[in-house]
Symmetry: C2
């Protein structure tokens, strides 16, 4: 077995979910991640915890979805009982064919999600970690060889997360007490928003592995300006490129896209909250150095910021502040590596991808 | 997908476990049985039931077993909760490598079994089915090509089970009210036992797929004579051949084997019940026409009988009758295709593999 797989398993079990003797652990993997499943069982057993192994197979899921009538999905109360009796949930993603569910009607996916919501709520109340196995379908989606994609995933995942947490804490210290943020990039993007009273969190690979971002919630009606999202956006199996949003009083008042503008319109029209920002994130994992059509990685890419239209994360919303609510949360990314700056309360804190607390700033 | 896989899934879901709308179903499969997992999800969804997909991977299980201290196994209460909230449990076996757990100390296997007993008890209280996917490791164990083994498995499994039930019912009608059974085969085997007051059951592929036997429990102290088990016995990864048992007043008073006699001695010495018979079974699935080192198939082989030392099945033990009790239940098989007979209360009911109710009997 590739030694990086055991390292990956150790980080999941120790750093991300802190598995202890006596814990009940759910290990959910697709078939293609068999090696990581083996390494996880080894690590969980070594810590004196008790695993159960769930299979998350896209082909089986597709078959169930297609065979079930749209109005027949019921909450899987057996899975809910399993989660309720668990302490830690480890979910490994990995696609043999990333378009396996392309012939499942989206309405059925939505019905399944609705039926699963009570299970999802239990899951989110546990110690959990979502991570990625470098599977061929994901490599293909990224346009990479299997070998190069393995290197990419394990470089991003198998890091010194204590050092990464300290790096990111410097940005949290800047944003958490701040009021106004301005993001400027290239000729088009120039947007300001208030984050006054909101909390900035440090994602150092607990619930998401890889981690590598700091993120907060904008005050919903404070966003002014325009943004050109120069990284593509992969939504419901389709790619939106060149998304351009214009904000007034927090609302998107104009939008265009180079490709799949109609899909972008659909997203923004989902509900009132879907045309306001719910998240501002700063990507700080520099081992993620390319876009791979996988938001678990893309939003943490070094030298980027991302903004999500839709739902805010509750834990970012300060006391007495309004959370943006929506059924959707769609992240979109701006490249900040060149001709760009982040200003916080009038002071430049990042320029051309270099932070104020790093060597080379202002050079 | 091979159409025989969908047929297999339909038999599991309709004939064996009678899955109904609203049922919570656990589908447990090894990776190698992915196609059957897909077909099962399709069938379960089509019936309006709700699946959860467990992975039963020998490699992961081995890693957990080896990494865990022998005294550290705990009852997986999360799995127990899952089973408690389920109506149907479908367990598919299939080995990529049938000796995957050959380097796990047997003591750890025993400790895991002990810890899992409360889960197992819940499982047995549900509608359940154990079946086999034709995996390469099982083909290799049988000494067969993958193609030939697929034909073998699906011929044995994808049958008209209503017709098979009716065939077997004729033998149940003979044995159920009977008192004495005599089994004679070749020059050595000649054994008599009482089954008075015991119940004979018809296995037509509900809990075991394939099914294909009728079975009962001997009165423990009634067995007299000797038996040469001319089919090999695969126990704890080792093969016992030519096992020869001599019974007096129900007890094994002498035993030999051509190969691994020591292991046979160990089995018989487990506890007092381990040296008495707990089961007499008549194999009647003629699509199982060869020995494949897999008791799920071997004990149902046409033209065989099997006797198990150890624990009797409770449902075979008539009211007021004594059940043979033991920690073990080890099946051993006698070929009845030639130079053999079964006598029931003094009348011949099978000769050279042909039953009294079949054409060619006594020819």
């Amino acid at each position: 077995m590739d030694p990086r797989i055991r390292e990956h398993a150790e980080i999941i079990v120790d750093h991300s979910t802190d598995v202890q003797a006596g814990d009940n652990v759910v290990i959910s993997t697709p078939n293609v991640a068999e090696d990581l499943a083996v390494a996880l069982h080894e690590a969980v057993g070594d810590r004196g915890a008790t695993p159960v192994h769930l299979a998350s197979e896209s082909r089986a899921q597709r078959a169930y979805l297609r065979a079930t009538d749209a109005d027949a999905f019921e909450t899987p109360t057996h899975t809910k009982a399993l989660y309720e009796e668990s302490d830690v949930l480890i979910r490994v993603r990995g696609e043999t064919n990333a378009t396996e569910q392309s012939d499942v009607p989206p309405a059925k996916q939505a019905e399944l999600s609705r039926a699963n919501r009570p299970v999802q709520e239990v899951a989110l109340s546990k110690r959990w970690c979502l991570t990625q196995f470098p599977a061929p379908g994901n490599a293909q989606l990224a346009g990479m060889s299997s070998d190069a994609y393995e290197n990419f995933v394990w470089d991003a995942v198998n890091k010194d997360w204590d050092a990464q947490r300290e790096l990111q804490a410097q940005m949290v210290d800047i944003l958490d007490p701040a009021s106004e943020v301005r993001i400027k990039s290239g000729d088009v993007t120039d947007v300001t928003m208030s984050i006054a009273g909101m909390k900035t969190l440090n994602d150092y690979a607990e619930k998401n592995l890889p981690g590598g971002e700091v993120f907060t919630a904008p005050v919903p009606d404070s966003v002014e300006g325009e943004v050109l999202f120069d990284m593509p956006l992969y939504h419901q199996g389709r790619e939106i490129t060149g998304a351009h949003l214009v904000f007034e009083n927090g609302d998107v008042v104009d939008h265009t896209a180079e490709q799949n503008e109609g899909l972008l319109t659909e997203v923004l029209n989902t509900d009132p909250g879907a045309s306001r920002l719910g998240e501002l994130g700063i990507g700080m994992n520099r081992d993620i150095d390319r876009f791979t059509y996988n938001m678990l990685f893309d939003e943490k890419m070094g030298d980027t910021v991302h903004m999500a239209v839709g739902r805010a994360y509750e834990e970012c919303v300060g006391e007495g502040r309004t959370a943006n609510e929506s059924a959707v949360h769609v992240d979109m990314i701006v490249d900040m590596s060149e001709d760009s700056l982040i200003e916080v309360d009038g002071e430049t804190v990042q320029q051309n991808g270099v932070f104020r607390f790093e060597e080379g700033f202002g050079a």
